[in-house]
Amino acid sequence: MGGTALALEVADLSAGYGPVRALRRVSLEVPEGAVVTVLGGNGAGKSTLLRAISRTLTFHGGAVVSGTVSFGGRALGGLAPDRVVAAGVSQVPEGRQVFARMTVEDNLRAGALGARGDRATKAAAMKRVHELFPVLADRAHQRAGLLSGGEQQMLAVGRALMASPKLLLLDEPSLGLAPLMAARIADTIREINAQGTAVLLVEQNAALALRLASRAYVLEVGEVTLSGPAAELAASDEVRRRYLGVVDEEAAADAASATTTHPVLSRWEEAR
């Protein structure tokens, strides 16, 4: 990494839910101030990775089996979720998860509860969030459940920023949003990063993620199968074919041969 300080370092992390292993020896690094993305389809282990970092696996009956997670040189393993937030790592969970029955303002206040710092720091964080998302200031007294999907995503991001994190974990922020709204969220992520917050972005929307990130990892069935600078990955055939939907003739031929080489169970075929 050529001398850049590491913010987050995940080393040989394995985690699972009971007998089900969801992550196998995953290693990953986020340099300070960088945007790093983790790509992968459904069930690849992306959310498990973020839960392992934020220490919320217990809510899903899961646990870290081996490996370490450290942030700024400090081990996060064994900490309670609130200590992780206090250490400077905030997460925007998948599906937004805004507190629907609370007002927009109270949602933001809830985001600041885990932050260290006095009233002034929190007021500054609120100001920053309102500058990033003016709509949240306009709708301060509305119930969060009444916001549109895009606005809820903004609220979820704003809420996480209230803790003034050094690293922001984003779990599929573009999920279920119209393309225009997804592009706006992408602009915001760029802006948040420009203000000095490192970002770990988990996405299925590879095109969007690879444009934002400097480095990318591909996660498949719990393992890192590819990693490298985002630009290189975006150019690689495998990623183009699998995640960017670019089909060239060679790839199409590959895909065709793939279907013929894998025998299909007849029963399976019928069920579909």
Partner: protein, 296 residues
Amino acid sequence: MTTFAELLLNGVSLGSIYALIALGFVVIFRATEVVNFAHASLLLAGGYFTAVLHDTIGFWPALLAGIAGAALVGAAVEFLVMRRYRGSDHSVLAIVTIGVDILLATELTRRIGTDILSLGDPWGDAVVTLGPVSIAETRIAAFLAAALLITAFLLAFRHTSWGVAMRAAAENQETAALMGIRLGRVSIGAWAVAGGLAAVAALFLTVFPTPGLERSTSLAAMKAFPAAILGGLDSTTGALVGGLLVGVTESLATGYQGDLTFLGRGIGDLAPYLVMVAVLLIRPAGLFGTKELARV
């Protein structure tokens, strides 16, 4: 008409006490999703502390000690028992609270025995007469105290960080944890607040015209269960409305018992449950309860 007014006033006062108990019940349910069957025992504990201490340290300090004591018992139950079961099924937790209730109730019953303890309140059996209507001072004090506490609670719930943390945890525990909210603290705080409110309720359940604190006081406290349930277990507003509804129903049913002899004796004790069943038939989630919503 005078009887009706008196019964109504008494019912509102009684109802505000039930609301106080039901509120504690709802607070625990919202913060931890646990139905707390040990609530009546917390109440009995608070009343017992006040009753034992008022002779030596005076009524007001004893009341404060009772509130603090019940809050402490509540916090201890959370810390020593409920916390060990965190993550278990909610029905398991509810059954655990029944176990805790049996333990607490047995010990308190042993201590109280067959005595009827006075809590040493300053109101005695004084009665205020407003025109044709007369009402016990204790009933007025009960209503004012309950109104004050409930207002203070609702303001805190809405505006303080504690309230925000509590509401966030009630909505989604995992996301609240992601915000850095300490769920353990929220939960222990809920138990302590519920205990404190129950101790105040204990005072007003045992003052005139009731003879005093006895073993069966916890049975009176049980009437807050239908109050909480018919209001909707997860709604603070529901607890207030439910409490008032149960109080007024009980007071009227007891007052007009003579005209209702065809229903047999003791309809007053039964009425709250009848109201609860009637409400739940029409609104299964209670008057203000949130219906179970699932987004697909």
